[in-house]
Symmetry: C2
């Protein structure tokens, strides 16, 4: 005969030999005085689900159920779904990780995992395989997310996301901090001159190395004599070269509408016209990547902002591009579906998906581009699928 | 010595043997009286670019250039970028398709391609390889789109999109109409009963075929006696079964907040709580797919709304899922970057990317779910990458 639990407040108490049977041997709950233990609702539901508890007395305070006879899994599940936040999705993730052989604790005081949890953004901690709650050896700090919730990008690094989709299937993502660090050795010349044409810049007589070694721009190749050596730069490439004092703008077309000032201001203004604030963030990330000796090129074909090459010797001999970078605002919240799309695509093309969580503050719009671009705050978060 | 052109209004006129040399032999421009032809700015720039025109006289009315000496490619390009809408991106696409061996015409009167163009949403028509403008044999009606523009989903079918990214690289997409058409032969029973738990429905005693043959839901498997046979349905699966009169809701949890009425109204209300109007559109598309004997399951892992199986015999022997379906509003505009992401991912997993452009009108919120779901208007647009 399996024991019965008693719901008291938000915990289920089990007496008898529960401490030895559930806590010591299998890492459920937390010890109370004597041999009694307290189980969180999710833990208790899981023991019911496995048939290791015979029932739970709800007491008189549970919705729609008058105290008395112990209830089974179905009624306890229904009552808990009404009483506890995100109960169903937390139960599904807890069960799945138990099935995979992990011991877990609720990541909140006074449960054993409580002290290890970074704030309220973690639901469970899963211990190293074979480890119990007393050891405190946490392998995954798990945040459970329903498919329709969203997750803050800032502070995500170090967490494991368990996303429960609408069909109750679970996808795990590991988020790590870090940075993109390259070894490309190229300095662009300081005397470039280009013309701003709508949302691109053409350098009519670009030195060969700018494309061949620095992988800036894209050649415009024709047969007319004056096309020889012409390079089209993207706005962000050009803005970066201008901010570094290497590129000057000559004739400009179409900027009669309020764009004035020095070259950096003109090109940034054009970028903001076509992309809004996003341009500032992308420029800051572009600069940061070039500063780390990586070569950022457009990630358009992958739906990302940039793909990056870590070590470019020559364009003829390009290495595989290792990262896809998506630039997001500091207060961005991921929709799990978008995260799933980005990470899946990156995996399919053997690249690492990196989010650049960017806030462009320092100085604002009035300041010189070179200054606010360098003052921007960029947090790198790489996200990958995980099989626990 | 190559001939010179003369800009008059928005066209460049070339005399001498131009008709024979450029129109008859290579499909540039349109014939005027005698041997003279008129070239669009893009066509003229391309001939300059190739060195087939020696220069173009701008006349006195071009921005910043006083009439007189003919100008070369660089100055004509800069002047045209100022004078003509999206000149740079249109030039890049025109050049690319010429390099690939196609003859093209501007898709507007009075150019030869004009009469074939469906409205103003097409920039060029590219003729079948080896065909000239007089034959009118159009292979691709090309819409040129800069990476930062957007494209209406409605009416996209039948067009070829040429997206110019910020680095001037071009990605082509073919959009086709069509529908998803399956051969799954399963009728769910009419006496199902489930409980609405947050954003899912649990059927505690589901008949085996519901999952095994209809691929509805996902089993909840435990050891407790009352879990045997429990199936979790997604809200959209449950709403569809309820609208068809096959599923009734018993105990419901957490719908004290304003959800009342019959089962269909309750479940649709819950769907709208968690997804807004999107739920209505997804339900309409789900119903349409089931009605076409296809089996829609969540596309979450692919960042889509649904993946579909055309012919399910049993769940043990599932075929490859052929389509990814994303549901969009009737007035949705694609961002080229999102389109690129979706289509790339679908290609990587050997599925066809299909957009369900959906307007849920008929009857609105007051009407019975079964009625407005069936009255919804769904246009299917499948999009794939194309190498012209």
């Amino acid at each position: 005969m399996q024991p019965t639990g008693h719901l008291r407040g938000d915990a289920v108490r089990v007496g008898g030999d529960a401490r030895q049977r559930f806590y010591d041997a299998r890492g459920y709950g937390r010890p109370l005085d004597g041999n009694e233990i307290a189980l969180s609702r999710v833990e208790a539901a899981h023991l019911l689900f496995r048939g290791d508890l015979s029932g739970i007395e709800l007491g008189g305070d549970a919705a729609g159920v008058s105290g008395g006879d112990p209830v089974g899994f179905e009624r306890f599940f229904v009552a808990s779904a009404a009483a506890a936040d995100r109960f169903a999705v937390r139960f599904l993730v807890y069960s799945d990780l138990r099935d995979r052989g992990f011991y877990l604790s609720p990541a909140r005081e006074p449960w054993p995992g409580g002290s290890d949890a970074p704030g309220d953004a973690v639901d469970f901690v899963a211990y190293e395989r074979g480890e119990t709650p007393d050891t405190g050896k946490v392998k995954y700090p798990i945040r459970v997310v329903g498919e329709r919730e969203s997750v803050a990008a800032a502070g995500l690094a170090g967490r494991t996301l368990a996303v429960v989709d609408e069909e109750s299937d679970i996808t795990y993502f590991a988020a790590e901090g870090g940075a993109v660090d390259g070894a490309t050795d190229y300095e662009p010349p300081a005397d470039l001159s280009g013309v701003l044409l709508a949302d691109r810049v053409v350098v009519w007589d670009a030195p060969e190395g700018l494309y061949e070694r620095g992988f800036y721009g894209r050649p415009l190749t024709g047969r007319a004599a004056d096309v020889e050596g012409a390079l089209q730069l993207s706005l962000v490439e050009a803005a970066s070269l201008v901010a570094d004092g290497r590129l000057a703008l000559s004739t400009s077309v179409g900027d009669e509408g309020g764009v004035a000032g020095d070259d950096a201001a003109r090109i940034v203004a054009r970028g903001r016209e076509v992309e809004g604030d996003r341009f500032d963030r992308r420029l800051a990330v572009y600069e940061r990547l070039r500063g780390a000796d990586a070569v950022p090129k457009t990630g358009f074909k992958f739906g990302a902002d940039f793909r990056t090459y870590l070590d470019v010797e020559t364009v003829e001999d390009l290495p595989h591009s290792e990262h896809l970078v998506r630039v997001v605002e500091a207060d961005h919240r991921f929709s799990p579906r978008e995260l799933s799309l980005d990470v899946r695509l990156a995996g399919g093309v053997r690249k690492e998906m990196v989010f650049a969580v960017t806030s462009v503050g320092g100085g604002g719009r009035g300041a010189r581009a070179a200054d606010w671009v360098r003052a921007a705050d960029v947090e790198w978060v790489s996200v990958d699928r995980l099989t626990p």
